[in-house]
Symmetry: C2
Subunit: 463 residues, 2 copies
Amino acid sequence: MSVIKPSLAKGTRDFSPVEMVKRNFIYDTIKTVFKKYGYAEIQTPSFENLSTLTGKYGDEGDKLIFKILNSGEFLKDPKKKSFDFAEEDNSNKLISLISEKALRYDLTVPFARYVVMHQNDITLPFKRFQVQPVWRADRPQKGRYREFYQCDVDVVGSDSLLNEAEFILIYNEALGKLGLKDFSIKINNRKILSGIAEIIGKPDLIIDMTVAIDKLDKIGLDGVSKELLERGFTEQDLEKLRPVILLEGSNDEKLASLKEVLASSETGLKGIAEIEQVFGYVESLIAYSLPLTAKLELDITLARGLNYYTGCIFEVKTNEVAMGSIGGGGRYDDLTGMFGLKDLTGVGVSFGADRIYDVLEELNLFPAAAEVGTKVLISNFDAEAEKYALPILQQFRNAGIATELYPTSAKLKKQMAYADAKNIPYVILIGGDEMTSGELTLKDMQSGEQKKLTVLGILDLMK
Amino acid sequence: MSVIKPSLAKGTRDFSPVEMVKRNFIYDTIKTVFKKYGYAEIQTPSFENLSTLTGKYGDEGDKLIFKILNSGEFLKDPKKKSFDFAEEDNSNKLISLISEKALRYDLTVPFARYVVMHQNDITLPFKRFQVQPVWRADRPQKGRYREFYQCDVDVVGSDSLLNEAEFILIYNEALGKLGLKDFSIKINNRKILSGIAEIIGKPDLIIDMTVAIDKLDKIGLDGVSKELLERGFTEQDLEKLRPVILLEGSNDEKLASLKEVLASSETGLKGIAEIEQVFGYVESLIAYSLPLTAKLELDITLARGLNYYTGCIFEVKTNEVAMGSIGGGGRYDDLTGMFGLKDLTGVGVSFGADRIYDVLEELNLFPAAAEVGTKVLISNFDAEAEKYALPILQQFRNAGIATELYPTSAKLKKQMAYADAKNIPYVILIGGDEMTSGELTLKDMQSGEQKKLTVLGILDLMK
């Protein structure tokens, strides 16, 4: 067998022990909050039938789905006996002959399939979260990988706006527990955007309108105006749009202005009422507890997922680091129609765990505890000391303390280097003196301080 | 878009909330023990370059690797312009044109790649565990899936037999914590098997010999004898082999007999000495703590992974349920040679999590706590009661209790059915009386008992 210098597949990553501890800190924190709000975990398989995934993500999305070759001698009994590679659109034709499954592209379509397949076992409202990798054949670049985790939480079968309010609290609590101090939860409502398009008499141009005003941050009012004109709006329309785009003040002030502007749009007013009810729920929920850490901001330029979301829309950003959104989601009215189960409403949000990781790293917010694996290393200088150490080693473990005995006799320097490399905070040194007196030398690796203590003394100190 | 009745890809599974809680109970228990013994988690990508995986699992294994189609217009610039499907061995030729990556088949080869690629960042001994799914294009059948989790723990870069002893304690502790009461950890040593083949003068037939005697349980001594004769052994060889195959008694008695039989084989005696040292380590480790729950048994018919293992070999079985092995592993001398890093020794074991799941299910060993998601449901009968409940809901969550408010007003029966379906143990009923008095009705869903308590009273009771 020839030896190959190994490499990672393009766009994929290994996670080292230190990275895993940090990643688990993020997932565990978020999952704990999900559970407190009554959400339960499910998992779906890594690959699905191609027919389940195809046609759900648009033409561009379909191209990014990783297809899996049929297994075994998949060409032994082909429908064709030869294949012309030069033929037009040959890839797609060949795929249908040699592939019938694909890696999941997101967690939403598999969730929809899950709900439809298990509809008789599920009690609505069904509150689920799912934290699993997804795969996309994107061109890899900084911060964009071909395998990455999604972290989704959804409730289906309930149109109560309490759910929307609870997602605000979930973001607030989870991101707060991760250590973020200044972040914004932006909220908008598809119905408000529909109302705006309606009052300027261009309901069909809602997507064009929102695509343009979504860019306000980047290209300013002049840029937005120019783009709106290009996209079919008139100067007269702009007159009406401008005050809406430039809406300022507190959430209450914005809502008051919008009520005037949208007075003639039933849909628009419905959107305003929904936002008000969500804000009302949030206020009531936190009445006897801590105020929101998050800034909750009505932002009518927010327009993600408009071909999908039908009610409230969310986006979360940190204000401490320049970084795109670290979360988002919204209300949808037809999750499972693609699989024949109509009119199932739901609302869901997701956490961008990879970006959150980068934010915590940049702000140095990973707790020191998240770095510690093994807490105590016991030295091993010779066979006698090793034998002395063995029952002590197990005593520490029985006390729930992650402990290692250096597995062979070795020089002090080597063992210390091992403790350093693994970030082990305490080393117990056992030599002749220690074995005679029963008082072991405990070295604090951070301070360098050493003291003599009995086994029970050290166990006490660790608690 | 036509509507497709959705289905799972063949050989894959969804995991419901109840199943996830149970699966997590198993993984969390095992991981906690790994960490206590100084092992740290890593993860590797779901897919690897095909060149990393091919040729590592034998011809049969290679066929079971799921290959991923190159992405994009993967045939736009093919090396050939047409392809004859009827040509011999066409699948393999086509694969090389259209696929360059594949789903991981196990965790061992990716771990070897990891060690080689990160050899400059790793401090030896490197103690890692890894719990991730693997994929195999096997024909699905009861208990065999195309996607399943492996749960591996290995230390590389240390030849100390302390590691072997610690794996025995890891099995003992993890399986004990999962609730198993009667299970056996079988141990053997490749060198003992080599010694046996050596003393009967057939060292080259070691694999044939072990394959036959491994079947003792199933086909009895006569069956084994017959198979040995077919595989090239003589009646004279059988004379020598019989006492070894039928070795009985305590571990000490078996070791004493083996020492006589293998007196002339240096390798065989080395194997015996290794087993003795492992047993010695185990005894010293548990000197001041609990005795082993597991039965530790020297079993010289144990012969798994002989083309791979070079020292101790392990296999774990439960004695409470008829089930194949629920764990196994051993010492290897050349993990990373396939990637050009020679002579790296290591030892590792794995847990068969799917089988352990079935065992715990059959023995009814999943703790009741492993079933509980939401602990408290607050009823919702009308807008007034809902408003009253909102801050209480949040008070419970702030106390760390997983709590839900039924998201819309609904009849009692419907809300109770929801609590039942989700196995929620407590329901708080809030009606007019409760709002007036401030004493809420707490219903214990298991006993059916109801009592009136203040919010603080209920919070106290939950602690």
